[in-house]
């Protein structure tokens, strides 16, 4: 049986980190100091503090300004996407309405473009207007290499290389989470808006549990009773190859 010493292991793990792989945080790489708290580790591994620009032209830092201390949703899209994105955006507008008084107050929605070269702040602003996006929901663009880093660290990525190259495969899921509570989940953005809302609220502050339940129950009963909601959502046509 091959045995590798602790020193060799430390060296190799450190090399991985030095080469830019998401690995050990710097303190541990140097082999000093007390373990970092888990929240800090999640920040280091998953939330690069890159500079992004919102559809309103504001410069923001991803972790400091958008994630830290917040209850959020994150998805990826691009304005020229013909398949999932427009339907998902429209669906998330319904979600935003369902969660009305929360979004912008203590729940923040972020849509990051997968096509930062095309999707300038102006393009994203027009896109947001087209869909009637309300307050508390930012569309974000940035340097392509920063966007790619965010994409992978936030897990809008697949191990299947062929699929991973196809932007359309990164537009399906909506991340929801609460940074201080270290609660992170995901739901397909095209699920029923009531269900998407319910899932998002799984990461809500615990003191809102009863209120959230009432909100969801009301949303469901409204849906059940609303005749105009009878038409089912248009089934999507997605010509993805399957893997």
């Amino acid at each position: 049986m091959i045995k590798i010493s602790r020193r060799a292991w430390l060296g190799m793990a450190g090399a991985a980190a030095a080469a830019g792989v998401v690995g050990l945080p710097p303190l541990q790489r140097e082999g000093r100091a007390a373990p970092l708290p888990p929240r800090e580790l999640i920040r280091l591994r998953n939330f690069p503090n890159v500079v992004l620009t919102t559809h309103e032209g504001e410069q923001v830092r991803f972790y400091d300004d958008l994630i830290k201390g917040k209850f959020v949703t994150i998805n990826m899209m691009y304005s020229t996407c013909k398949a999932t994105c427009p339907l998902t955006t429209a669906n998330l507008v319904r979600v935003q309405k369902l969660l009305a008084d929360r979004v912008g107050r203590d729940l923040f929605m972020y849509s990051i473009t997968l096509d930062p070269k095309q999707d300038t702040p102006e393009v994203l602003n027009a896109y947001a207007k087209t869909f009637g996006v309300g307050k508390g929901w930012k569309f974000l663009t940035g340097k392509p290499e920063d966007i790619e880093r965010l994409r992978r660290r936030l897990g809008f990525a697949w191990a299947n290389q062929e699929m991973d190259k196809n932007k359309d495969f990164h537009t399906g899921n909506l991340r929801y989470g609460n940074e201080p509570l270290m609660l992170w989940g995901a739901v397909p953005g095209m699920a029923e808006p009531e269900w998407v809302s319910e899932c998002i609220l799984f990461a809500d502050w615990p003191q809102n549990l009863q209120k959230d339940r009432q909100l969801i129950a009301q949303a469901k009963s409204r849906r059940a009773s609303a005749a105009e909601r009878a038409a089912p959502m248009t089934p999507m046509t997605r010509d993805h190859e399957h893997h």
Binding site: A15, V21, M163, M182, L183
Partner: protein
């Protein structure tokens, strides 16, 4: 692959120095080259490959690793520190190191209707409580605790979530795996499940303190099944009524049930919608054994299978990553492919040791995931060419028609296999349960096998126990267990389920929602389902709650019994690349809502699930729900 040619960082220089150490450790330059750790000119390749190759070579703990380590998908490059293997004894029920659940009196007394006033989180009345009044009552408390997973002094006790025996007031320590239920058919029980997990924000990085405990494989009324959507919160309790009856008891075999539906090896685990992977990885899983007058637990009676607990040893396998930055288990929160570990635990200990006598044993193998598939072989390192066969007697909870002699068994997430291993004449020898299935990311195994001795040795078995009587039956002489029920009765509906990735996880191009009942099955009717994996990359262990199916065909062929046993009754269709399974169901006795879902729990948590319902009126025949 980019080569690092000139500018070496300090860190990479350290690695170069470490090369000497690696070589001293027994890895040759040729090995390094082969693994892509070093180029032919003697330079190290860039960090990505270094760590990946490292993980592959580190056989002290993981050969078939785990980490694609930042190279593919969203996998983070978090590699466990070395852990000395084979230091700890396998916890077993035979010596009390795996605790057996014990009955208590419950106060307030359980009620048919949910006892909301007393803090019960259940919302649906028990449907079979009066018909099968519980004869035993248990309390079980889900809470946090610290447990040692190894005696290696460099690894700290792990902060886990587990099941403590009894009520919160009893304040017993947690168990991971949870306490073992040892139950008998026709002895209905009631389990009061208390949620006393720490509040949000104190999860150590992952896990949601909101739970629902599923009894996997149970013929259980829906409200007690542990449905993903029947979760309950901190401070609440939930009563689960397990009738422990054979399917058919209220239908085809009134009053007795069909003994051919007997289940023997079940397990329980958290099933909280969207958080099952995190919560089970954190420790919320245990086993549940069911005996009857054939599989008695006494080798002097019934089928004469090795006696419980002395010679009948349940084994829970799972893989974890220990975060070197915290010394605690690490969960890759943002990975959607599936999560692999690079350290292997059996019954909660890293690569433990089991001492046995030279006689027959029954091992019950369970894979609790989250995403790894295993293929278990018995390896003798002193004779790698030996074919160490054993007898597979079950698939999932169900005994086969008879024992089959095999060289290996494949177990995907949530599957179970019971085997009889004969150590007669093997005194003085050492064997390993070795996983030889190659899998390098959460999608599924690549299909290849490591050579004998080159896989991951998960459990060391030393045949150094005293010579003892063996009154168990030689499996070669067991010609029949119960036999299988027929699969020729007319079916009411034929349905197809396609498991697929369309940028998210879906079944039949649809997305899960708790309230979306996709189809309705008539109580006491038969159905034939085709369950398909549309994908090549991803494998999906498709689990259907409530009812065992019988496999009719796999990819058009009758299910095989060699080299892997595919025949039989199961609750998980192991959908490998592009597989199509056709299966036969009888939905009997109880009504209510159940899911079909992928048991790669990362896929399940991201909507690869569908709800259906057993009903008396309003059943449909939707062929592709």
């Amino acid at each position: 692959m980019r080569l690092l040619k000139y500018r070496l960082t300090k860190r990479q220089l350290d690695v170069l120095k470490n090369r000497q150490e690696l070589i001293k450790a027994g890895i040759s330059r040729r090995d390094l080259l082969k693994l892509g750790l070093m180029t032919s000119t003697g330079l190290l390749v860039e960090g990505l490959s270094v760590s990946r190759a490292f993980a592959q070579t580190n056989t002290t703990v993981s050969r078939s690793t785990s980490q694609s380590c930042g190279t593919r998908g969203s996998s983070l490059c978090v590699i466990s520190p070395p852990i000395q293997p084979f230091l700890d004894l396998l916890p077993t029920p035979r010596d009390g190191t795996w605790r057996i659940q014990t009955p208590i009196a419950l106060s307030p007394a359980p009620t048919v209707a949910p006892n909301t006033a007393a803090g019960e989180g259940r919302t649906i009345a028990h449907q079979a409580f009066t018909q099968f009044p519980p004869q035993k009552f248990y309390g079980i408390t889900q809470k946090a605790g610290a447990l040692s997973i190894t005696s290696d002094p460099t690894i700290a006790p792990q902060n886990l979530w587990g099941f403590a025996i009894g009520t919160p007031e009893q304040n017993n320590p947690i168990n991971v795996p949870g306490p073992l239920y040892v139950e008998h058919y026709n002895v209905p029980i009631l389990v009061r499940n208390y949620n006393r997990l720490p509040p949000e924000g104190q999860n150590g990085g992952f896990g949601k303190p909101s739970v629902t405990t599923h009894l996997h494989n149970g013929h259980t009324p829906s409200e007690s099944d542990g449905n993903p959507c029947n979760y309950f919160e901190i401070g609440q309790f939930y009563d689960q009524h397990y009738p422990n009856v054979y399917a058919g008891i209220n239908s085809t075999h009134p009053g007795t049930g069909d003994i051919r539906e007997a289940l023997h090896t079940l397990w329980y685990h958290d099933h909280r919608v969207d958080f099952t992977a995190q919560n089970t990885y954190k420790g919320l899983a245990g086993m549940y054994l069911l005996f009857n007058d054939k599989d008695t637990g006494d080798e002097l009676t019934g089928f004469h299978l090795p006696s419980f607990p002395q010679y009948d040893i349940p084994m829970v396998f799972n893989d974890k990553v220990i975060d070197p930055s915290t010394g605690q288990i690490f969960f890759d929160l943002f990975n959607l492919d599936g999560v692999l570990g690079d350290r292997f635990l059996v019954n909660g200990k890293v690569q433990p040791v089991l001492h046995v006598s030279p006689r027959r044993y029954r091992f019950r193998w369970l894979n609790t995931g989250p995403s790894r598939f295993y293929q278990f072989f018995l390896t003798d390192l002193t004779n790698l060419s030996a074919n160490n066969t054993f007898w597979q007697i079950s698939t999932d909870g169900n005994l086969l028609d008879k024992p089959y002699q095999v060289s290996s068994s494949r177990v995907s997430v949530s599957e179970r296999v019971d085997v009889i291993v004969d150590f007669t004449g093997k005194a003085g020898k050492t064997f390993y349960i070795e996983n030889r299935l190659v899998q390098s990311d959460g999608q599924g195994p690549s299909g290849g096998l490591f050579a004998a001795g080159q896989g991951d040795r998960l459990l060391k078995i030393v045949v150094d126990g005293p010579v003892v009587n063996d009154n168990s039956q030689n499996p070669a002489n067991i010609t029949a267990f119960y036999g299988f029920p027929n699969t020729t009765d007319a079916v009411r509906a034929t349905r197809t389920f396609v498991f697929q990735n369309r940028g998210d996880w879906e079944i039949n191009e649809k997305i899960f929602a708790c309230d979306d009942i996709r189809f309705r099955v008539l109580r006491n009717s038969n159905e034939k389902w085709t369950i398909q994996n549309e994908g090549r990359s991803w494998h999906h262990p498709a689990h259907i709650h409530f009812e065992e199916f019988q496999t009719l065909s796999i990819n058009g062929q009758a299910p095989a019994t060699s080299p892997l046993v595919q025949k039989g009754r199961k609750d998980v269709a192991r959908l490998e690349s592009r597989d199509t399974h056709v299966v036969y169901f009888r939905f009997r006795d109880f009504v209510g809502r159940y899911p079909i879902h992928c048991h790669n729990v990362v896929h399940e948590d991201h909507a690869m699930m569908a709800h259906w319902e057993i009903v008396d009126t309003g059943a449909d025949t939707n062929p592709r729900p």
